[in-house]
Structures are given as C-alpha cells and as structure tokens.
Amino acid sequence: MLKRLHDISDRRKVTIDFEGMQLEVPAGETVSAAVLAAETDYTRTSAISGVHRGPYCQMGVCFECLMEIDGVPNSQACMIEVRHGMTVRRQHGARGVSDEASV
C-alpha cells in the first residue's frame, strides 16, 4: 500500500473523521494524501459506471478524488488541507441538487 516517504513522528497532528474512523494525520497534508496513507481501498464510486475510484493526479485536474468533505459533495480531496475535526465521506455516484440546499 501507499506509504509516506518522510518521517512524520514529530509533525503536529490533527484528527479527521473518515467514514467513522478517527485518523491522526499531519497538519498541512491534503485530504487525499491523508486518506490514501490510511490504506483506503477507494474514495468514490463513478457517477457513470459505479466502479470504485481513487485519487490519481493529486494536482487538481482529473477530478478522480471527489469526496464529501464537511458535508460538501464533489469536493476535490487533493486540493483541500486537513483540518482538525473535519468529516470526510466517500462520494457515492453523482451528487443531488435539491432546492433545500440553496436556502
């Protein structure tokens, strides 16, 4: 599985909630890096075929890393830094648009 190249033992840590699991991760890391390092099998399912997908480019262009972050669907996990107390969920297929969401 994926491993961090650097020793993180002396880095400041924050805690995020990923699908109910509490992960202790280095502050300043992206959500996608944090979730990948936790040996996650997948981070979203495709809106078209439903197959499992995970982060790919890690630089904001491929949109493979979409997750629900603090309740916001289709968030690019590779472009967002972890924050203490953050809630991260897999993105299952396409998001919905509801009238309630806008008010």
Partner: protein
C-alpha cells in the same frame, strides 16, 4: 497524386455529414481536414438540435430546421447502429425561459411573427405561463423572476463530440478516405477538374465541396465564389456532475447524459479570438441562478470559448460556383441541428442535382438582390 470523385474540404460536423452522404451515392470521397484546432465549433458547441425561434423573416429556414428535427430520430438510430457510438440523443422538447415581463412579451412577439410567416399559421411552439413551465421542470424550483417561457416539442439535444466521432467513423468504415492534418492552401480548376494543393501533397477531383467553417471566405474565392462568413464567439461553462435533474434542454442551459450542466448564453464579436472572459462567465452564471436558485451550489469545472460561423444574414449558404461548376460551398449557423439535412438533401443536390424546395433562397444570390435593391 490521389484522385477521387469528390473532395470535401473541412472535417467539422458539416463537411463530415456531407461527405458521409456523398459516400452513400457510391462515389469515391476524400475528406481533407486541417485539424489541430480544439476550438472548432464542431468540437466545442452546445449540442442542441434546436428549432424554436429560428428563421424569423425566413419561412424557408424555419421549415428547413423543423424538417431536420423530424429527420433526427431515424438519422441518429442509423448512425448509432452503423458505428455503435451512443449519441445520447433525446427529444423531450425544449424551453426558452423568460426573465421578467418584458422578455415574456418579446418572446410572445417572436412566436407570433413566426406563426404569421409560416404556411397556414402552422408554426408549432407556444408560450407557457410560470406555473406550466414549473410543471415541466418538476425537480427544480424556478426563481421568483421567471415569468414563463416558450415550449416546442421539436427541440432536442445530443452529445456533439459523439456525433462528430460517429460521422468520422461512419465515413471511414464506409470506404471514405479521411486525411486529417491536411490543410488546403490552393485550389486550381482546369478542364473541369479540380487540383488541390495541401501541406501534405496534391489531390485531384471531379467535384469539390467547401465546408471549412470560418475559412470559407478565403477558400471560396479560389473557385470563383464570394461566400462571406465571420466568426462570432460563444462561451460555455460546465459544472460538476449531478443526478439527472433537468428534464429538457433550455436555451442556454442543459444537463448532459453524464450529469454535467452546460451553460452558454453568450455571443461576442471579437474576431478570431477564443479567450474566455470571467465577467461574462459571472453574468451567465447569475442568469442560471436567477432561473434555478438551487444550482448556485454547483462548482464550475471547465469553461471555453469557440467561434460560430456566421453569414451576413445568419442563414445557410448552399451554392454552386458559376465560374467553376462542380465546386460547392456549404455553410450554416447550426451544423448540429442541420446534420441530417446536410447528409441527405445537400448530398442529393451535389451528387444528383436534386434541389430541395425553394432552394434558391439559400444561394449567395440573395445578397446580390439586396445590393441592387
């Protein structure tokens, strides 16, 4: 040097449709396309098969678009069967939304005029009040400023990239010779034959069809025609994907089969320029949010601009050269909508001389009349 019955110059949606049509006439056809420009209208358009509102002041053009929409379902079925490519074509009808009273009245007048100009008042598109528009769009609540809209059952949409890909595949599978990356630099005419010079060799043909989008003005002069077109920039934005929400295309807003919303309401005269303009994007996004407040939460993931191909009066030009008989020019504002017309009737005209009804209206001679009048 390669010889064929027909050379078609321009592998956009118009040239490709005509080339496919000619191939069905058991002719040898070579399609030359300069390519390399990702902003060709055929690769960057909105994908509407759109009839309503078109052809004010030109009954024949309104009918021409309407006939195309009638041909479309069967046309798509054949192309999909031939190529196995899903064009994501749907024909649920289409809406134009009116923001405020003034837009409503203006739209009503447009439809009234089209109805008055149509044969026996048969023009088939009608105004809906706000409540009826809302009934047609059950998943999205209209913004408070929407006063109503117009609805036509003849409108539809498809995936324009899939259409172009399918046309290219159908052409090559059918035995056509497709030369991409081949830009025509000169066209000569001798003893009733055309000699075409390109950046990758010479080609000869009995007949030549020019369908080169915004390069038409320059190329048509090489065969003694004066087909004037100019670019008009249109800008599009694409949002993240959502579950199916918008049940029919709306002028300027549609949801693709994959779930993205495409927004595009702009036209600017800025020459051969495909910059995007953030102020314009903001205006377009605001209009969408005014129509459907719930869409404010969507992220825009891509945007681009591209160039429409416009004639002076916005109508198509279908013209044979008088100076060099056997040379034809084919250009139109709505190449997606008119694809079946180009593949069926324009190919019939070019290959067999069969002219559709009142065809003269689409020749460049209409401009001579205006000049002398």
């Amino acid at each position: 040097m390669e010889h064929s019955d027909f050379l078609v110059v321009g592998g956009g949606v118009i040239g490709s449709a005509v080339a496919c049509g000619l191939l069905h006439k058991k002719c040898s056809v070579t399609l030359l396309d300069a390519g390399g420009d990702a902003f060709n209208a055929s690769l960057a358009n909105f994908g509407l098969v759109w009839v309503q509102g078109k052809g004010q002041g030109s009954r024949r053009y309104a009918e021409w678009c309407h006939e195309a929409s009638e041909l479309f379902p069967e046309y798509v079925r054949q192309l999909e069967t031939e190529t196995g490519i899903d064009l994501a074509y749907r024909k649920p009808g289409g809406l134009v939304l009116c923001h405020g009273e003034e837009e409503y009245q203006k739209r009503e007048k447009v439809l009234e005029r089209l109805r008055n100009e149509s044969r026996h008042g048969s023009y088939d598109c009608h105004m809906l009040d706000r409540a009826d528009v809302q009934k047609m769009l059950p998943n999205l609540t209209l913004g408070p400023g929407i006063t109503g809209g117009s609805y036509s059952a003849h409108d539809g949409y498809l995936n324009p990239l899939a259409l172009l890909k399918a046309l290219h595949m159908s052409f090559t599978q059918g035995g056509g010779h497709f030369c991409s990356g081949t830009a025509v630099t000169n066209i000569g005419y001798q003893h009733g034959r055309f000699l075409v010079t390109t950046n990758s060799g010479e080609f000869t043909a009995e007949k030549i069809v020019l369908a080169a989008g915004n390069a038409m003005t320059r190329l048509s002069r090489m065969v003694g025609m004066d087909v004037q077109v100019h670019p008009e920039q249109g800008q599009l934005m694409v949002t993240e994907r959502t579950r199916p929400t918008l049940s029919m295309p709306i002028s300027g807003i549609q949801q693709t089969a994959e779930g993205s919303f495409i927004v595009g309401l702009s036209n600017r005269n800025v020459g051969f320029n495909t910059d995007t303009d953030t102020r314009l994007m903001k205006q377009m996004a605001q209009r969408v949010v005014n129509a459907f407040p719930a869409l404010a939460c969507l992220k825009i993931v891509r945007s681009w601009s591209s160039l429409r191909v416009l004639t002076a009066d916005g109508l198509p030009i279908y013209q044979q050269s008088e100076r060099c008989p056997g040379a034809y020019a084919v250009t139109a504002h709505s190449g997606v909508t008119l694809a079946p017309q180009h593949q069926i009737h324009i190919a019939d005209w070019i290959a067999e001389g069969v002219q559709p009804e009142e065809f003269e209206r689409f020749s460049t001679r209409r401009f001579d009349v205006e000049k002398t009048a």
